[in-house]
Amino acid sequence: MDCERFKEAKVLAAHDEGRTPELDAHLASCASCRAEVEEMAEIRRRYAEAPAEAMSEPLRARLLALPRRRAPRYAWAALAAAAVLLAILVAPLFRRERPAPPPEAPKTESNIDLTFSFDSVDDVRASLPEDSDELAATRESEVAESEVDREFRELGESIQSLESYW
């Protein structure tokens, strides 16, 4: 008898997962394999009939509370992720506001010394060319300034005369 050959087929048959005509023919002639299939079915039935163990109520309560317990963690994670994202987006804006320092000119021997030193305003005037446009503009502004001064002075005098009248 080649009972060993039907080992897997017998398991499938005992679980109602397929039954080949070949196996059926073998079972018809082999009492031992027939008994084996029946015993497997009986073990299954006994296992199914055994009092079902249920989880404890505290465990059931813990399982039911899991989403509530995990939700705040998700919320914090989402908040942290949002903060990081915001920081990444905003960081370049701050960097743009701070102007980069001007590049330092390399000091070479051929550079001209452009520093000046004046002791007084007269020195400045003396350094300017006599008939330049710039000088003319400066003189006009000096005149304009003195006219404003005069108006202020006249206004002050009228106020003083009013005060003495009262």
Binding site: E49, A50, S56
Partner: protein, 177 residues
């Protein structure tokens, strides 16, 4: 089933409650037989945390039950590897009463003894046989799916079940004579 999955994926409270109600005890029993009483509650909780976290990426290529018990199986294997040296613990009979479910009073004493002997024998099965036995008998997963989950050929899964059955048959022999 599809509405349960959609509900879970959209974070609906009713869906999660239904998951615990419909699958909680089955997962717990599977886990408990796999890892033993001491770690059963922790591992069951880990399974539900993983399911809650991963259900968004669940794609129904196989059945939802297969997906769920694949997670349970993987977490049991992880736990067993971590605690391989300290896995000797309460026999099932004690564990069952410690679990708050009293033995069925209507069952005849012989039947009760047979049930207890059967459960003890399941607990004593080698890991690979127990895995296949529990997936088929506790989770109701077909053998083809079991073979895919435990990554072995179908005939290997069936062979493991065959040897598991032989072992369990021996454990019941004394009660049948």
């Amino acid at each position: 089933m599809a509405d349960l999955v959609k509900g879970l994926q959209s974070g609906q409270a009713w869906a999660y409650e239904r998951l615990v109600r419909d699958y909680g005890d089955r997962i717990y029993r599977f886990v408990r037989r796999m890892v033993g009483n001491r770690h059963a509650e922790d591992v069951t909780q880990e399974v539900f945390i993983r399911v809650h976290r991963s259900v968004g990426s669940y794609e129904p290529s196989g059945s939802f039950d297969s997906w769920l018990f694949t997670i349970a199986n993987n977490m049991c294997i992880d736990n067993m590897r971590r605690h391989r040296n300290d896995r000797r613990e309460l026999p099932l009979v004690e564990a069952a009463s410690a679990n708050g479910r009293p033995p069925d009073p209507s069952a005849a004493p012989v039947d009760r003894e047979m049930h207890e002997a059967l459960m003890r024998a399941v607990d004593e099965l080698p890991e690979d046989q127990k895995q296949v036995f529990l997936m088929r008998e506790e989770a109701g997963i077909p053998f083809k799916e079991i073979a895919r989950i435990v990554r072995c050929p179908l005939n290997t899964a069936l062979g493991r079940m065959h040897y598991a059955m032989l072992h369990l048959r021996e454990s019941l022999k004394a009660y049948k004579e």
